[in-house]
Symmetry: C2
Subunit: 247 residues, 2 copies
């Protein structure tokens, strides 16, 4: 899909790689970007190691319109996202006065200790991202948006961003109780007839039967609808019923 802005998500966190925590942020960001017409081209999970973060960040920020990072912006010793982003951009860390003011408002009854103040030490030139949940802001440098790892806070931060999307990506999803291998040959022909639509095929096993979900995506409405109609006709030609799914 040309002309679409692109994005990468960088999940920073040992807890995901160790298997202790299941990431809940990628599905949310992926769905929201899709609705905005932004193509999520890649996602990476990296450890809490500065070199790993810098390498992944520099690869992604050069390749895509937007990069969203999650995690590692808290007050503890393992929160190293801000200094890693600064190093990736080659800028120093500086205490951000507005971030300090926000933390002072959050901890108005006391508790703004040295560790928490570290959350105001941001890459020089960063702009703040609002945190309506717990005060401590995210931040943006260039095309990189640095968000919290706690899902409720990440979502609130993400929803407040002002991103420029592209033409909406239309999706038609149609399931059927025909096996993938059964329709694969004819499906490839439909894909070849409609290059402007992107047809994905996903097998499933449900209620004791094998089936397939066909997902048709694209920005060209005519191509998407025509490909979807062809997929429905293909399913019916096998004596099966096309079951429309949500977008």
């Amino acid at each position: 899909m040309p002309d679409q802005p692109t994005a990468a998500v960088l999940i920073i966190g040992n807890e995901i790689l160790s298997g202790r925590t299941r990431d809940a942020n990628l599905p949310y960001i992926a769905e929201r970007l899709s609705a905005m017409g932004i193509v999520l081209a890649e996602a990476r999970v990296v450890a809490d190691r500065e070199e790993a973060i810098i390498t992944a960040l520099n690869a992604c920020r050069a390749a895509y319109t937007y990069v969203f990072t999650t995690g590692g912006i808290g007050p503890t010793h393992d929160d190293i996202t801000a200094r890693s982003v600064a190093a990736a951009f080659g800028v120093p860390i500086a205490r951000h006065p507005d971030a300090v003011a926000r933390l002072e408002r959050q901890y108005v009854t006391g508790g703004l200790n040295t560790a928490r103040l570290k959350m105001a030490d941001l890459p020089k030139g960063a702009t703040l991202i609002d945190n309506p949940v717990s005060g401590a802001p995210g931040f943006c440098v260039g095309n990189v948006f640095v968000l919290a790892g706690v899902p409720d806070i990440m979502k609130a931060m993400f929803d407040g961003l002002n991103l420029t999307g592209g033409p909406p990506i239309l999706t038609r999803a149609i399931s059927c109780f025909v096996t993938e291998g059964g329709i694969a040959g004819d499906l490839a022909k439909i894909q070849n007839r409609f290059p402007a639509a992107d047809i994905g095929s996903y097998p499933f096993f449900r209620s004791g039967s094998f089936g397939t979900t066909l997902v048709i995506r694209g920005i060209d409405e005519r191509a998407v609808e025509a490909a979807a109609a062809a997929v429905r006709a293909l399913i019916e030609s096998y004596g099966a019923e096309p079951i429309e799914q949500g977008p």
Copy 2:
């Protein structure tokens, strides 16, 4: 953790990047590797595009002991993992006789069509990975293990692999209803005292209260236990109760 084998997971699938499907494979592989003493150093989700798969695969197979890919080994036009792996290794695709034999056994009553036979077209030199669920095998080339995307099949394939692990990675996880920012300063001191243990701090919000889970990991049992004891004492010094979590 030096001397540990390392790994990367490569999730191949537009459906994850579009937000339609939530990946269930990474948490499983992450947990199992951890139990085997293999450090999962990074994970990537890439689109069903050959160049994207080749780039990610070549980066990861050079950097880590093992690479596990999931997805894209079915019979449809969007299943391009085998040819992408072949291209990454610079070897041709060849029909694998034993894979054909397995498919013939699976489709003994008919149905082994051209599309399904494509699942036997593998990178030259590949060895097969058993698929006890639906017959069509995964495969291994060099240090790259190519697994199915459907979680039940992926798990069955993974569980049949014979991987060389490292010393077990010990984990102690201790939760408390003390905020992260409250203990961050003292926690950093504990981390400095026990460099052989890796202390992660994860805030949570539960039953209306903020709390923190401290996760201590490492292969040096003495260091892990000593760091865990110091963490428990720290929590108690705040008048809170250390709550032991599962490993």
